[in-house]
């Protein structure tokens, strides 16, 4: 498939402090003991999309990611890790890597997606309609991300359930309207011209833009070039393309397609081709084509382009790791409900304990747990619905519930950890009680501390 993939891996997201650090950028955050970006990369590999550009913000982050991908995928994927300027938004990141894009269509995917929706299916939908952009939609969490676990949501004040407003045609193939971000605060504004052309539009608030797009490269580059104020793909580029789909500006400016065709076609030829395409196609023409033809049914009088959607089925999993809450949820889901994503085979007890891990006497590791390589646990410990990384040393009488413990963590006797994230190289001294906490890398929690809902981290030097 002539598709290039751009994975937007971000840098060290502020939202994820203290989990991320210069050594551990967002892309490498472990989900069931694998960097989160590996989920995307392997998903792409499954769809045979192997030509990948990973855009990373920040030098250290770039080096870390490059180092890791070189090691992990050297023989399997053609990955090029590119450093992009900080804080330029998704559109800015694409601008920075635009010079590397050569394929006819570009798949842009966020590096923090954990999903089992096939990007190949999105690409196919894109190609089928010869769309300018195809976006993947998945069902929005029913009532906010907080509902999926027992953990207490911190941002309960936010209105639940409102992610994006999406307008679809009756066949649910075309994207007619999208409102995201601050626009959700305003009233719904629908262009009559589009509604008239389609006849019926359904506005949904239970779908969410999953940050996986297929773009026609020529159009994408053109838009990025012309609209230099555009910052975000989701908030600027996509709404722009959707808005102008019946009065297309992108192709008006004579984007040549010399690479593909060898010669530039005159618009006359294009029109004829389009007509014959419509006539030959046994399926009915889409409203775009009908609209373009106007009433005279001779030559297209209007320029249109198509914005398509691929709606992932309800049973598919699709989450973005873009908050601490999401980090907890995804880790839990990957070893729990969505265990097929992890790529591990679970034991009869429905958990994964690495053969090299050691367990003390009367220590129980419940279902939906994971215990990494060479980790040692003392006596009478209990682990429930948690992920424990590699080379951790855990004493006796330790309880770990609903938590993520990264690598090389040492936990002394009598600690209780609930709903928390413990980063690498953390030391928990005796009888520490943590609830709803995040402990940043290399931090030491002193004996007997009891914390609730705190973020503990070393101060940046």
């Amino acid at each position: 498939m002539d598709f290039q993939v751009v994975v937007l891996a971000g840098g060290t997201s502020k939202k994820l402090v203290p989990l991320v650090s210069k050594e551990l950028p967002k892309a490498l955050l472990p989900v069931a003991n694998r960097p989160v970006i590996s989920y995307v990369l392997e998903l792409l590999e499954l769809s045979n999309l192997k030509d990948i550009i990973v855009a990373v913000e920040g030098k250290e982050a770039h080096d870390c990611v490059e180092h890791w991908t070189d090691e992990a995928y050297i023989d399997r994927l053609r990955i090029k890790v590119e450093r992009v300027p900080d804080d330029v938004g998704t559109a800015g990141a694409l601008r920075a890597v635009a010079h590397l894009l050569t394929a006819k269509d570009i798949l842009v995917v966020s590096g923090d997606i954990v999903s089992d929706v096939s990007p190949g299916a999105v690409a196919a939908a894109h190609r089928r309609h010869d769309a300018v952009v195809t976006t993947m939609l998945c069902s929005a969490p029913v009532s906010g991300p907080s509902d999926s676990g027992s953990s207490v949501a911190k941002d309960k004040g936010k209105k639940p359930g409102h992610y994006d407003r999406i307008g679809l045609d009756p066949t649910k193939q075309f994207l007619l309207y999208i409102a995201t971000g601050t626009e959700l605060e305003k009233d719904i504004r629908i262009q009559k011209s589009i509604l008239c052309a389609v006849g019926q539009m359904e506005i949904r608030s239970d779908l969410m833009d999953a940050h996986l797009y297929a773009f026609k490269r020529s159009v994408l580059q053109e838009v990025l070039k012309q609209k230099d104020k555009f910052q975000s793909l989701k908030r600027d580029v996509l709404p722009y393309l959707v808005r102008t789909q019946l009065s297309s500006e992108v192709l008006l400016n004579g984007v040549p397609q010399p690479e593909e065709n060898g010669h530039e076609k005159s618009s006359y030829q294009n029109n004829e081709e389009m007509l014959s395409q419509i006539l030959a196609n046994s399926s009915t023409a889409s409203f775009h084509e009908l609209y373009a033809l106007g009433s005279r049914c001779s030559f297209p009088v209007r320029r249109t382009h198509k914005c398509c959607v691929y709606i992932a089925s309800n049973s598919k999993y699709c989450m973005r790791l873009n908050s601490i809450q999401a980090f907890n949820d995804i880790n839990r889901d990957v070893i729990g409900d969505a265990s097929h994503l992890s790529g591990y085979s679970f034991s009869a007890q429905n958990n994964i304990i690495h053969p090299s891990a050691e367990l003390g006497s009367k220590t129980t590791v419940g279902p939906h747990c994971m215990l990494g390589e060479a980790s040692i646990m003392g006596d009478k410990c209990s682990v429930k619905r948690s992920v424990i990384g590699r080379h951790c040393r855990i004493g006796s009488n330790v309880k770990v519930v609903n938590s993520v413990v990264m690598n090389h963590v040492s936990i002394a006797d009598g600690c209780t950890i609930q709903n928390s994230v413990i980063c690498s190289n953390v030391q928990l001294q005796e009888r520490v009680v943590l609830k709803d906490c995040q402990v940043g890398a290399n931090f030491v929690v002193t004996t007997g501390s009891e914390c609730k809902g705190e973020a503990l981290a070393k101060k940046e030097k």
Partner: protein, 728 residues
């Protein structure tokens, strides 16, 4: 009778249901519009023949077959004719079907009609509300069932409207029935109607929906491909709602929109979409044409000419959709084309060609006549060699030999067209003169104020005259000499369709001419370009940069409106000596309703006060200052109420400056005096004055006239404050 049988069988489907409350219907035998003028000046719309049967008979036949047991026919215009028709028809003598007439002479709208019916107290349960120009064959069972079930769950579900799929043309922006395109938002799960916009304003390229609509549901369907059938299932509350809201006139424009906007009472309207059955309303000449064709092509079965559902016609369906009554005198050489109806007792001469037309009873059509796509009613005489294309010819018209009617012509009752005379397109001819403007004003609720200048070509108006002239001339009741219709012609040619808010061709019986279409396409394209420039959504990233011109206009209009209102309130307070607290209450409510800040109130009140002072008779500047002092002393309490912080005080100074420059130049020589006065009366504190001075320091010299005028005063203030500081 087929229809009757059908009704009986439907009645037995759920006997208990119907036994409890007989199903009632309100049939409005007056459309309260003027679209069918001039014909409706002489005969009510519901009695106009539609494929040789009065429209109301279709409606009544359908109501009867759909299981309605009691119909209240509301007659207003030409009520005597309607009542007489009903008395002579068999509708008064049907078993299980009572028809009662309600007569009114002063109702001008559907709202008035429903209020009157409410007073009569005859409706006891859910009822069907339709107008007498509806043709349908839908079954009411399902929609009634749905309505009742919704009512059980939610007593606020007061109305269910019937809709049908029909995509309007993208070019003319109207449906095939000639009605304007309709935008609706419907909840796809509950079918609740959330938004309704007919008579869309195309200048606005977008629809705005309240974001709260999506708050409690996951999806909304927006439709442009539906047509309102004007068949409503209503709960009795609908009548009382009309009574409560005495200003509701139109069923859709006022009532329906009123309910949708009003979220206090929480009344809900639902939709019911029909798929296979037929329902349409004759709203204008175009829908008259379209629905006639539907009837001939049997979409409305069983309401078709060869089924005896009323009267005693004995029409037979022949091949190619030809309906011929039993007794017609047709010449051998006459050619009758497909989809044509010929009424009883009509004679057709040699070599006459008729296609796609409806000919009424007792017509005599001479030789060599050609009739195409036209509606010729009863007892019409068409002499030899006449040509009719896409026209409506009413009862008793005489067309002398060789007369030609061009597409879109409407000849009202007993008009005579002279020999060889050619009636140009879209002319409307009547024996009655065109009513004067005052007459049409009575119906102003409906006839939209003629914002769009109608386009028409009439007999004497040559086409090169501009529209404006035509409209002007129309207002001075011109009397057309009868000779204007050719030798021996009789009738006035009307220049503009009354209440025709749109171009004539849109609603005419004639198909839209190709050149008109091309014109509209061009306009649409221009619009598109315009939309790209102006009203298209700015890219979300640049939302703040683009300011919408129309928004701006609205805002400034708001401003002056608010100021005027405040001024009126203030003057009334002065006249009637109203207490300050009460004035504050009034101004506050104004402020809330116009969404203003307290600073705006302060400005507006100050403006009104100064204006009052200015209007007090004065001869010199000092007298003006005296008058001002008086006003300020009397009303400073009111002003101070709005001067809670320094910004508002500055606002007042700025306002004063503006006034001195523009509306009340008399004040400019005494600016400093009045400023001092305001300071002295403790209306404005010294900080405000100093801040104002600071702000102005950077301004243009022209902007600083008053600062300089007040220089000494400001200087004095500054020194005074410095002294104070030193003392501290």
């Amino acid at each position: 009778m087929v229809a009757q049988k059908k009704g009986a069988s439907r009645g037995s489907e759920d006997p208990e249901e119907l036994a409890r409350v007989p199903l009632q219907a309100i049939l409005l035998a007056d459309s309260f519009t003027t679209k069918f003028r001039p014909i409706t000046l002489e005969r009510p719309k519901v009695l106009l023949p539609l494929v040789n049967a009065p429209m109301i008979s279709y409606t009544l036949a359908w109501l009867e077959s759909a299981g309605v047991e009691e119909v209240f026919v509301f007659c207003c215009a030409h009520s005597k004719q309607v009542i007489k028709y009903l008395e002579n028809s068999e509708w008064f003598s049907q078993p299980n079907f009572t028809v009662t007439t309600i007569e009114s002479h002063d109702s001008v709208s559907a709202g008035d009609a429903l209020r009157l019916i409410y007073e009569r107290n005859v409706i006891h349960g859910d009822f069907v509300l339709i107008s007498g120009d509806t043709v349908s064959n839908m079954s009411l069972t399902q929609v009634l069932q749905e309505h009742k079930e919704r009512r059980k769950k939610d007593s606020n579900a007061v109305m269910t409207i019937v809709i049908k799929r029909s995509k309007p043309s993208q070019i003319t922006r109207q449906s095939r029935l000639g009605t304007d395109e309709l935008f609706m938002a419907i909840d796809p799960n509950t079918k609740q109607l959330l938004y309704y916009e007919d008579k869309a304003d195309h200048a606005k390229g977008s629809i705005y929906l309240d974001k709260l609509l999506l708050a409690d549901k996951s999806s909304i369907s927006l439709h442009n491909d539906k047509q309102d059938c004007y068949i409503d299932i209503c709960s009795p509350e609908v009548l009382s709602l009309f009574t409560d809201n005495f200003d509701y006139q139109h069923l859709r424009r006022h009532f329906l929109k009123g309910l949708l906007v009003d979220d206090i009472m929480g009344y809900k309207i639902f939709t019911h979409e029909i798929h296979s059955s037929y329902a349409a309303r004759i709203d204008n000449y175009r829908s008259y044409d379209a629905i006639s064709k539907d009837i001939i092509q049997r979409w409305t079965y069983p309401l078709v000419p060869d089924v005896k559902f009323f009267g005693d016609s004995s029409t037979k369906l022949e091949r190619l959709g030809m309906y011929r009554a039993s007794e017609i005198g047709q010449s051998r050489s006459a050619q009758i084309g497909p989809f044509t109806v010929i009424g009883n007792g009509t004679k057709i001469g040699d070599n006459t060609k008729i296609s796609n037309s409806v000919i009424g009873e007792g017509c005599s059509i001479g030789p060599n006549v050609s009739i195409e796509g036209s509606y010729v009613w009863n007892n019409v005489t068409i002499e030899d060699g006449c040509k009719l294309r896409h026209v409506i010819v009413c009862d008793g018209v005489i067309m002398k030999s060789g007369a030609v009617l061009e597409p879109g012509v409407v000849l009202s009752f007993k008009v005579v067209i002279g020999q060889q005379f050619i009636v140009p397109s879209y002319s409307k001819v009547s024996l009655l003169p065109q009513p004067t403007k005052q007459d049409s004003d009575e119906e102003l609720e409906y006839a939209d104020n003629s914002t769009g200048i109608a386009e028409i070509s009439s007999l004497t108006h040559t086409l090169d005259k501009s529209n404006g002239e035509i409209v002007n001339e129309q207002q001075e009741t011109q009397r057309w000499p009868t000779s204007e219709l050719g030798t021996g012609g009789a009738g006035y040619v009307w220049s503009v369709c009354e209440g025709g808010h749109d171009e004539e061709w849109r609603h005419s019986v004639a198909p839209i001419p190709a050149e008109k279409l091309a014109e509209v396409i061009q306009a649409v394209e221009d619009d598109l370009e315009f939309a790209q420039d102006g009203s298209s959504l700015p890219p979300s990233g640049e939302l703040k940069l683009d300011s919408n011109d129309s928004d701006y206009d609205e805002e400034s209009r708001d401003d002056s409106y608010f100021e005027n209102e405040v001024e009126a309130t203030f003057l009334r307070a002065v006249d009637e000596n109203i207490k300050v607290e009460h004035v504050v209450l009034e101004v506050n409510s104004l402020r809330l309703s116009s969404n203003k800040q307290t600073a705006d109130c302060a400005g507006a009140i100050f403006y009104s006060m100064m204006k009052l002072a200015l209007e007090t008779p004065h001869n010199s500047a000092s007298e003006l200052v005296q008058a001002t002092t008086k006003v300020i002393t009397n009303w400073k309490g009111l002003l101070k109420y709005y001067l809670s912080d320094i910004d508002e005080e500055i606002e007042v100074i700025m306002k004063f400056e503006d006034m001195c420059l523009e509306s009340a130049k008399e004040f400019s020589p005494v600016f400093d005096k009045i400023l001092y006065l305001l300071y002295d009366q403790e209306v404005i504190r010294e900080e405000a004055i100093l801040r104002w001075d600071d702000e102005k320091r950077e301004a243009d010299e022209s902007d600083r006239i008053f600062v300089r005028q007040a220089e000494t005063f400001i200087k004095w203030l500054r020194e005074a404050s410095e002294e104070e500081d030193e003392e501290e």
